[in-house]
C-alpha cells in the first residue's frame, strides 16, 4: 500500500510538499521482503473457455528456487493429470504442459510454494485455482491494438526489505483492445520500457512486467524515480499457448519531472527518513515561530502609563 502525490501538485511550493510529506509519511507495503508468492496464474482462477491445448503457468513475485516441487492437476473426476514441469528462472515462471490435450470439463490445479533465492525470503505461498476447459483449440495468435495513452504520478513506497521510503514514478497506461480464440481475459500482457531516462544508451527494450489482462483497460507500472525525462512503454499480448500478438510497435511516451520532495529539517541522525523525526521538526519550528511572533506582538503592545 502506498500513497500517491499528484504530479501537478509536486510542481507547486516545496514548503507545502514538505509539510504534506512530513505529516502523511508512508504506509507499510503489503508484499513481504523477497518472499516468492505466486502472484499470477495463467489461466486465472475461475477461468472459463480455456482451450484444450493450453500451457498452464504460475508467476512468482520474487526469484525462487525450484526443487522438483509437484504441481497437482485434477480433473472433475478427481483423476491426476500428468504434466511436464519447467521452471524458468529468468521469468520466475513455472510452466506445466499437460501430457495430453485437456478434455472438456472442470479442473483443479495447485501451484506449489517455492523457496526464495535470498535467505530472507523463506518459502512463498502457493495458490489453488479452478478453471473450465472447452473442446476448442487455440490456433491463432492474439490481435492487440497496443498501448494507447499514458499518464504519470509520483509516489513514495515503503520498501519492506529496507524499511525506508523510496520515490517511484507511477505510470498509468491505457491498454487497447485485444482479441483471441479464447477471448482476451485469458491473455497475459507483457509490458516493456522502450525508453528510460536512467539508461539513455540502452537500445533494447527491457521488460518491466507480466500482468493479467486488465479488464478495465488500465494498467499501472511503478518504476524507480532515479532520473526524470522521456519515458516510453510498449506492450504485447500472449495467449495460453505462447503465441504473441502485434501491437508492440505502438509506444506511449511521457516526460517525467524530478520530484521536488522536501523532507523538512531532520533532527535525527544523518540519513534517517523517519517521518516522526520530520513531524517533530516541523512542530518545533512552528512552535518557535509562534513564540517569536508572540514576543514581537507583546513588544509592540503600548504599555499603559
Amino acid at each position: 500500500m502506498s500513497w500517491v502525490w499528484p504530479a501537478a501538485a509536486a510542481r507547486s511550493s516545496a514548503l507545502l510538499v514538505g509539510v504534506g510529506l512530513a505529516l502523511l509519511g508512508g504506509t507499510a507495503h503489503a508484499a513481504p521482503c523477497g518472499r516468492p508468492d505466486v502472484d499470477l496464474t495463467f489461466p486465472p482462477d475461475g477461468a472459463t473457455a480455456v482451450p484444450s491445448n493450453a500451457i498452464l503457468a504460475a508467476h512468482y513475485g520474487s526469484p525462487a528456487r525450484y526443487a522438483d516441487e509437484v504441481v497437482s492437476l485434477l480433473d472433475d473426476g478427481g483423476r491426476n493429470i500428468g504434466v511436464t514441469l519447467a521452471y524458468d528462472d529468468a521469468d520466475s515462471m513455472l510452466r506445466a504442459t499437460p501430457d495430453q490435450p485437456l478434455a472438456a470439463g472442470h479442473f483443479d490445479l495447485v501451484w506449489p510454494g517455492l523457496r526464495g533465492v535470498s535467505g530472507s525470503g523463506g518459502v512463498g505461498r502457493g495458490r489453488s485455482v479452478g478453471f473450465t476447459v472447452t473442446s476448442t483449440v487455440d490456433a491463432t495468435p492474439p490481435v492487440f491494438e497496443g498501448l494507447s495513452d499514458i499518464g504519470w504520478d509520483l509516489a513514495r513506497d515503503r520498501d519492506p526489505c529496507l524499511d525506508r521510503l523510496d520515490d517511484r514514478f507511477v505510470f498509468q497506461l491505457r491498454v487497447g483492445q485485444a482479441s483471441d480464440d479464447s477471448g482476451s481475459a485469458l491473455l497475459s500482457l507483457l509490458v516493456f520500457e522502450t525508453e528510460d531516462p536512467a539508461a539513455p544508451a540502452q537500445t533494447e527494450p527491457s521488460r518491466v512486467g507480466v500482468r493479467a489482462w486488465p479488464t478495465d483497460g488500465k494498467l499501472e507500472v511503478r518504476r524507480p524515480a532515479k532520473k526524470a525525462g522521456q519515458t516510453c512503454f510498449a506492450a504485447v499480448a500472449q495467449d495460453l499457448i505462447g503465441s504473441v500478438s502485434g501491437g508492440g510497435e505502438r509506444e506511449v511516451c511521457v516526460k517525467t519531472q524530478k520530484p521536488p520532495f522536501f523532507d523538512g529539517c531532520a533532527v535525527s541522525v544523518a540519513g534517517s527518513t523517519a517521518p516522526g523525526a520530520s513531524v517533530s521538526a516541523w512542530v518545533a519550528m512552528l512552535a518557535l515561530a509562534a513564540l517569536r511572533r508572540g514576543r514581537a506582538a507583546h513588544a509592540r503592545t503600548p504599555r499603559a502609563v
Binding site: A90, D149, C161, R250
Partner: protein
Amino acid sequence: MLYVSKVVALPIVCQARRSRGWAAVVLLCAVACARTGLYPGDLSETEADPDANASGGANAGAKASGGAPVQPLPTSGVAPVPTAGMAPVPVEQPPVCVPSPETCNGRDDDCNGAVDDLPAQACPGGGFRFCVAGRLSECPRRCDVCVPGSVRVCQNSFCSFWGAQECAADGQGFGSCREAEPPSECAATARKFEDSKQLEQCCLDNGYCCLDEHDLDGDGNRREMLGACGDVVCQ
C-alpha cells in the same frame, strides 16, 4: 494579417502615389502571393519545427512505428486523358503493399495488417525476447540489480568495521551499509586491521558475498561483489 497590412499593403499605397501603373502591377502580385499563402514568416515557422505536428504538441502521447512498405502504383493506364485546354489531374490510388518475410523493424512486411507479429525468441539463459518498438527486447533476468532481500557484506570505517547491505524489495539496488558485529572468525581481523583489505579477504575466505571496496581483484571496480554471491546477483 498584420504582416500583410504592414509589409505589403502600406508600401503599395505609398508606391501608388508615385506611379499608378506600377502600383497596379505590384498590387496584383501581392494579391497573388496572398492567395498562395507564401509569406516569409510562414516559411520560417514551418522550417523551424518540422516535427511540431508529429510530436502531437504535448509531452505525452502515442507514437507508432512506420507503416507497411508501400510502392506507388505505376501511372500507366490510370493517368487521365488530357483535355484540350485543361491540365491533367492526378488521381490518388491506395498504396500497394509488397509482401516480404516479417522482420522486427516496425513495419508490416508480410502485408497481413499486423506490424511485427513475430513469435517470441527463446533466450539462452531462459526467458524470451519479444519484438517491440521495432526492435528485439533484451533477454530477461531474474532481477535488475540484486535478488530482493539478499544481503552482502560491506565495511564501515568506524566501530565494528563490518556491515550488511540488503537488497531492495524490487531488486533495484542495495540499501545503506548497516553496522553489524563481524563473525567470530573475522572479529580479530576487524579489531587489528579495521577497514582494510585484510578484513575483506577474511570476508571472502569465510564464504560471504562481499562488496569489493578494496579492489582485491585489481580490476579497478570497487562497486562489484566478490565471493559467494550466487544468491545475490541477478545472473
